[in-house]
Amino acid sequence: MRLRFISLFFLLFLCLYLFRLTQTPRYFIAEGKPVKIVGRVTNQPYFNDSYQIIKLGPVLILAQRFPGYFYGDKVEVFGKFQKEVINPFKSQYMSFFPTIRLLKEEESLISKTNFKKFLLKTRGQIEEKIKRLLPEPQSSLLLGVVLGVKTQMPEDFWQHLRKTGTLHLVVASGQNVVMVVGFLMNISVWFLKRRWAILVAVLGIVVYVLMVGAEAPAVRAGLMATMIFIGQLLGREVNPGKFLCLTAMVMLLICPLILFDIGFQLSFAATAGLLWLHPLLLTKLSALGKIPVLGEGLLVTLAAQLAALPILLVNFGQFSWLSPLVNALVLPLIPLLMVFGFIIAGLSFFSSFLAQLLSWFVWPFLSWFVKVVEFFGGLSWTNWEMGEISCWWAVLYYLILLIFLIKAGFKPNERIDHS
């Protein structure tokens, strides 16, 4: 009965999803000749050493770094576009150094765009303040851990993070949301009833998720946390695994193309790994878990990596087998960095002196992180480069993993702090 219900539900979801997928808007821009398009900047532009990448929906524009554009800006772009087909449902257009003109428009204060713009501007201010307090790459690292900011990170440090498989630590994701929630709940229960405190926490989640740019991992974590809260309010038992599936379904129905977003895939795979693989590893590899200090981090990373491995290999064609060790060496620092980071960000608006003082206290931790990542990132033999593999391997891998899990009698984990 139960199984039938679940499969019926799943089938219904699949139909709905496919329907939504066929309904996604298609864009057509003539190729090879200069075209003028008008659009709105849909993501905060990515700044590199000497250029910026601006996104207007399905259009990617590579432009000079100055003048910088901002989320929500309305721009007119004149140049040649190239089409790039990613899959039958998703294609994007690229343009290199076209002429861009900023269009002035009247500001209406109450709109979603402007609310998000306000939050992103606040984030921009926090970024500028923190960058004045600490040297590079420490300041970029702190911003990455707290707000998931990756732009303007020194190129070589970014490469080291990528090579050591620690890039996921500078993404705003589950752990950040858990911290925000914990912080708000702890403060608001002092003077509010529990259900109002939960409302404050949920509002906090919305603000934080929008502030970090509403990318898939943060949205996932935010939705999950919200659902768990609603479950608590309704007095229902909380089963994170169920909520993970439900979150995925909601996100896919709202934005079908997100299925092809690597951040979305990685985030869900890693969380699933923590929920289902981690308890299994805890029993099977209990010896590893007993290593002092490092043990816990090793198992957590191993679980997430085993679940996300095919996605990494299919998309990036490389994998660092030392990554669980590097992660275990820096993971215990992350909650500390977040707490310090949130406080420094808040303080910097009131007293730059106190913010500076506190940033010196966080400096040794950041430097430890930097040194570890730079050391392991500098070793050339830790990476497996294998070129991009076919996605059928990934399907096969997941089938085997699933069978393995079912045989071991799959018990979901109650902890959802990490990821």
Partner: protein, 285 residues
Amino acid sequence: MKELTILKKPLFWLLLILILLWGAVFSLPDKQLHLVFCDVGQGDAILISYSQVQILIDGGPDNKILSCLSKNMPFWDRKIEIVVLTHPEEDHFGGLIDVFKRYNVRYFVANSLVNDRASFWQFYRLALAEKASFYSPKAGDKIRIGALEFLVLWPEKDFLKTDNFNDSSVVLKLVYGDFEALFTGDISEKVEKLLDLPARLAAKRAGGVEILKVAHHGSKFSTSEEFLRKIKPKLAIISVGKNRFGHPTPEVLERLNQAGVKVLRTDQEGNIEIVSNGWGWYNSP
């Protein structure tokens, strides 16, 4: 988050403060002059530091300068006393945008020329917002800070021209005891001839300079034989990266070789540091 319970332990804070104090002690500057030619790709960026005073000449094209500054300044020092922009071209001011955004700058030294690019106006706005004292140098001026002295050798007053930024470069000679270094910006042979070298160089002593920053990344229109004969550098540094101009040119490398000058290049060595106590000096790498 059980990792956070550590914050409640006094021992944790005690240890942290100890680590910080030792970290600060170990990053205390020595009483020596440090010249660091930063590897910023195609462009110039030279950090001069003595005790707690930092002087930055140009910032390279982009934010690569920041990691060089982090490596060569104590972590608690967020102040650069003097920033010099030799001339308003992107491979010299580009990185200064990030420097102004992140560091407190006391004095900003640059000639009054402006470049009409979007990035320059961005830089200009930031430099104004920073409230650094602005100073436009002319040949014959002296800038003294702590134990260091800079002689301004260029530009002459009526030589500021917007159609030739390179030849309007600020040329500085650093004097610290017996140690001298010449920073030539992007000047060409024409200006090299016009520099009032004998009078101002001989003022201190007849020997040549220790360090020459080769002008214009090793362009063949700079660093003439005659100039090298006049200033007799012991070591020449070429600040250069991947470029489409053929810098450094074989002609300049040959002239330096003929003059018996040792050459180091940032594209081969990375950051190049020179340390001096006022009479002797050494370089690494």
